[in-house]
């Protein structure tokens, strides 16, 4: 019986046929039973309450930013003649009006929209370009890696904010220019990070094993390497988002960002007269502060939880 089976399955067609003679029935094969999967689920750091508070704040922010024009906010650019400039808090203007008589709350909400759009698209560019190049560079190695790394290190050495100011001054300050410039300015950092993570992964035995099973380089890269790099990447995506929002605030304060409502613009507009206009300096500043601290905290918790370096494999 066994010999016939051997003849039948001896060739290369042994895949889709069950072999009844072997396996489960043999007690000596069963002694290395591991506990059921659920008992051995990897222990991971908990996110904690503060994490969810941060997520909550970011959720509220995103909600208002997305639905700003559907909600009953006033036009953020219109002078309210009934109240006038520098009005204090009232029922009609929950956070008052600024020096140009515009509703502060409304500007805050539309400013969030600006910050998030620039942050998210800028991060997408940084991740797309930096991540792809970083993975390729680490996987291909050789001269390609050397040249690209050199180029990126030059980019890292360049004083970013000065480059951003120069380019935006030259190009004009549309939203898309700002997104492109801030995104590309973050590329070298992401490149370096992804390259390091890929290098660490690409030398693992399971990558060699995947190759030995006949997988193409492309497949190995995206099916085997990428999922192992992605958790670390997720955390740094969030850090980058925070970074770009912060830089946008900074260049807006310098008067180099978009002309519409933006947190940086609001702080800048309120300008030198802190004593009179405390509220509308504080409002965008607090919003920016809460957003950045939330992003950084969320990113850090995710890094701790999913970074393979901290999880026992």
């Amino acid at each position: 019986m066994r010999d016939e089976l051997a003849a039948a399955y001896g060739g290369r067609s042994s895949v889709d046929v069950a072999l009844p003679t072997n396996g489960v029935g043999e007690p000596d094969l069963l002694s290395d039973l591991a506990p059921a999967p659920e008992e051995l689920a990897p222990r991971r750091a908990k996110f904690g309450v503060f994490f969810w508070i941060c997520i909550g704040w970011l959720g509220i922010l995103a909600f208002f930013a997305i639905f700003a024009n559907l909600l009953p906010f006033q036009d953020p650019n219109n002078f309210d003649f009934t109240i006038g400039r520098d009005a204090s808090i009232s029922w009609h203007h929950l956070l008052g009006t600024d020096q140009d008589g515009r509703d502060v709350l409304s500007r805050l909400v539309y400013g969030a929209r600006t910050s998030l759009i620039i942050g998210i698209f800028g991060t997408a560019i940084a991740m797309g370009v930096g991540g792809t190049l970083g993975m390729l560079s680490a996987y291909v190695r050789g001269r390609f890696d050397g040249a690209l790394s050199f180029f990126m290190y030059c980019g890292l050495a360049f004083p970013g904010i000065i480059a951003v100011i120069a380019i935006l001054d030259f190009w004009g300050r549309t939203e898309w220019h700002i997104i492109l410039v801030l995104g590309l300015a973050s590329v070298p950092l992401i490149f370096r990070l992804v390259r390091a993570a890929t290098l660490a992964t690409a030398t693992k035995e399971y990558i060699t094993a995947a190759k030995s099973q006949g997988a193409t380089s492309f497949r190995v890269l995206f099916h085997d390497v990428f999922p192992n790099v992605a958790p670390a990447l997720l955390a740094y995506t969030i850090f980058t988002l925070g970074g770009i929002i912060a830089v946008e605030g900074a260049i807006a304060f310098l008067g180099l960002s978009v002309t519409g409502p933006s947190w940086g613009n609001m702080i800048s507009d309120a300008g030198g007269d802190v004593s009179v206009r405390m509220a509308f300096i504080l409002a965008p500043a607090i919003a920016l502060f809460l957003t950045l601290i939330s992003l950084n905290y969320v990113g850090e918790r995710i890094r701790v939880r999913y970074d393979p370096g901290e999880v026992k494999l």
Binding site: D16, L19, D32, L33, P37, K211, S212, G214
Partner: protein, 346 residues
């Protein structure tokens, strides 16, 4: 079964004068240096040697699975009549899996931690055999059953972290066997496992090999493991074959002092209690600056002047053409023919 002997005789793998050289900052490193071997269908070859003897590099060289950079591969590897050295990446890839497969040393690191094990098996099937997702998943469960994993449907959904070392190695074997390879390269498949699990994995490999009439190259540092499970043994030292013979013959008539030293450095149940284990003095040679003469001569208790000056060729034992060794003063050959053999140590 009537034509089985004819199938047995088919030559599957012929390696001739294989050389693998890594270029290092210190100079060329000769990891595999002129190894020749052959393997028939269904046969098992044991490759034995200590760490750094080139046995792992040999198995990866045969497969063609070496980093392209800084590596030169010379000689010939003919698999079923097809030359693999210098073959295109695409050709090799099409053979890896369906024709040649490898089981790796450490099951803790050779499975991808982010994919479920069932999926890892199914992916190989889908890639080479172009099975649909559904059929591949079913086959993956069948394979898990074959390699002795209980409740395979449940395990297929587990991640590698959730399985024990022995189970992972079984999964690894299932992946290697998935596409029905004709040659399985097992690179120290039991080194990372407990002794009891080792025996189970070895039995499993033997069973799978027998049922599939698969040829196997079993790389290990443990002579005890290959003693009962191989047809032929190759003993490697410093990238070279120093002795090769059919397994029984080798254990009956050890010729090369290195093989003898390896044997003596293995603990045996039959030894009386407190028998001192004889470790091999010294360390394997630097493969960049290799010693002149026989590469084992600096550690060999029987080494003579000739050993340190001339490198011994791989020659056949008189009257035993199957038993080859590279030694000027082989053990157990009568003193009449080789007068200057007697060692200086007692």
């Amino acid at each position: 079964m009537t034509e089985a002997p004819a199938i047995e005789d088919r030559m599957l793998l012929e390696v001739t004068d294989l050389r693998t050289v890594f270029s290092t900052p210190r100079g060329p490193l000769f990891a595999v240096d002129g190894v020749s071997l052959s393997l028939h269908q269904g046969e098992t070859l044991g490759v034995v040697g200590e760490s750094g003897s080139g046995k792992t590099v040999l198995s990866r060289s045969i497969m063609g699975l070496l980093p392209g950079r800084n590596t030169t591969l010379e000689g010939s590897v003919r698999f079923d009549g097809q030359e693999l050295v210098g073959a295109s990446e695409a050709t090799l890839r099409s053979m890896w899996g369906p024709r040649i497969a490898m089981v790796f040393q450490d099951p803790m690191t050779s499975l991808n931690p982010v994919h479920k094990v069932g999926r890892q098996i199914a992916e190989t099937l889908r890639l080479h055999l172009k099975l649909s997702k559904k059929v591949a998943n079913k086959s993956a469960i069948t394979l898990l059953t074959q390699v002795g994993i209980p409740s395979p449907e449940l395990r297929a959904k587990a991640y590698p972290v959730q399985l024990s070392g022995g189970m992972r190695q079984r999964v690894m074997i299932a992946i290697a066997l998935a596409c029905g390879p004709e040659l399985l390269l097992a690179d120290e498949p039991t080194t990372g496992l407990d002794v009891t699990i080792q025996a189970q994995i070895l039995d499993l490999l033997a069973e799978m090999q027998r049922m599939r009439r698969m040829a196997m190259i079993f790389v290990t540092h443990d002579l005890g493991i290959v003693a009962t499970r191989t047809d032929r043994i190759i003993v490697m030292y410093a990238g070279k074959v120093v002795e090769t013979a059919p397994t029984r013959r080798l254990f009956a008539n050890v010729r090369m002092p290195y093989t003898e030293a390896l044997l003596h450095s293995t603990p045996r149940m039959a030894d009386p209690s407190h028998t001192r284990l004889q470790a091999i003095e010294g360390r394997p040679p630097d493969l960049v600056h290799r010693p002149s003469g026989c590469s084992f001569s600096p550690r060999c208790p029987y080494a003579m002047d000739r050993c340190r000056e001339e490198s011994p060729p791989l020659v056949a034992d008189p009257g035993e053409p199957d038993h080859l060794y590279a030694c000027w003063y082989p053990r157990g050959v009568s003193k009449v023919s080789l007068p200057a053999r007697e060692p200086s140590v007692a």
